[in-house]
Symmetry: C2
Subunit: 141 residues, 2 copies
DNA sequence: ATTGTAAATAGAAATGATTTCTTTTTAGAA
DNA sequence: TTCTAAAAAGAAATCATTTCTATTTACAAT
């Protein structure tokens, strides 16, 4: 299953610009979530000029297109990560090292039936410390 | 079950100040979530001087103490609501009229067992349009 | 009741992550 | 190659939220 980000972008009617492709492969290499500024700093290694607003805009567009996912972080800053899994699932995020672990469970089917209204989206996210971080700094993020 | 907010606050080692009590009863009267500024505007009816930072601080303290709950909103602004239900549950929030509906389901017990780490918190929230809003403005928040 | 003290608050000011704006460049279709 | 809408740079603005300091207050201990 070779990842063809250019094709993915075309499906979303987004142009396959070098910067978009770089953002995607950059995030795909990481197993953790990243902030726009961190992505920007890494991109600057390969692009002489790249604006932070471009990174913000692209991360948002890619998330809206479903290619990457947003993290809901207690500190209220934006974070994004790339998850190669295509089926619907959710995540356990480490608040310390930012590692992301799949959670292959979603009770939303049952929930949606009970709701008296139209469901537009749902959030399921588990926050904590991964095993490594829990062992090293015993409890506090 | 008469709500004794003063007692609740003392349990949290928070002083039962008139403003805190006013925030709690104000939110308890509403069936929808409110922004700090909205809470502030209402408080100003009864308090000659009340600072917006006080409202922000108290809403955060009350949420940390578990007396009120935060909404995770797509627009990334802060919102809070009061839920009288004491058992663990989650919510369906209307993005249009801000009404909140209980969801008496949480698959977290099963999830926590599978996670390779220490769970500190979890988010389950369903966003959409309540029946009334879905009928009136057919689909868009 | 009075006092002492940590907690709470007002008000003003700062903050800084995110967004907006305008001009220039580019991807990709024709 | 040409054309055009989309994308991007760079600078600037935004504004919800936080920080800071002086003052006031809740309430526990006299
Ligand atoms: Mn995943
Ligand atoms: Mn509830
Ligand atoms: Zn970790
Ligand atoms: Zn509604």
């Amino acid at each position: 299953m070779p990842e063809n980000f250019a094709h993915n972008l075309k499906d979303l009617k987004l142009k396959a610009t070098p910067k978009r492709l770089a953002i995607l492969s950059l995030l795909a290499e990481e197993l953790s979530y990243a902030s726009p500024e961190e992505v920007w700093r890494k991109l600057r290694r390969n692009f002489a000029s790249i604006g932070l607003p471009t990174v913000y805009r692209n991360l948002e567009d890619l998330a809206n297109g479903g290619l990457i996912t947003k993290v809901i972080h207690p500190n209220r800053q934006l974070y994004y990560y790339f998850c190669p899994n295509s089926h619907h699932h959710h995540h356990f995020i480490c608040l310390s090292c930012r590692k992301v672990e799949d959670i292959n469970f979603c009770g939303m089917e049952e929930i949606e039936k009970k709701v008296d209204g139209t469901v537009l989206s749902h959030i399921v996210q588990v926050n904590g410390l991964c095993r490594d971080c829990a062992e090293s700094h015993g409890g506090t993020p």
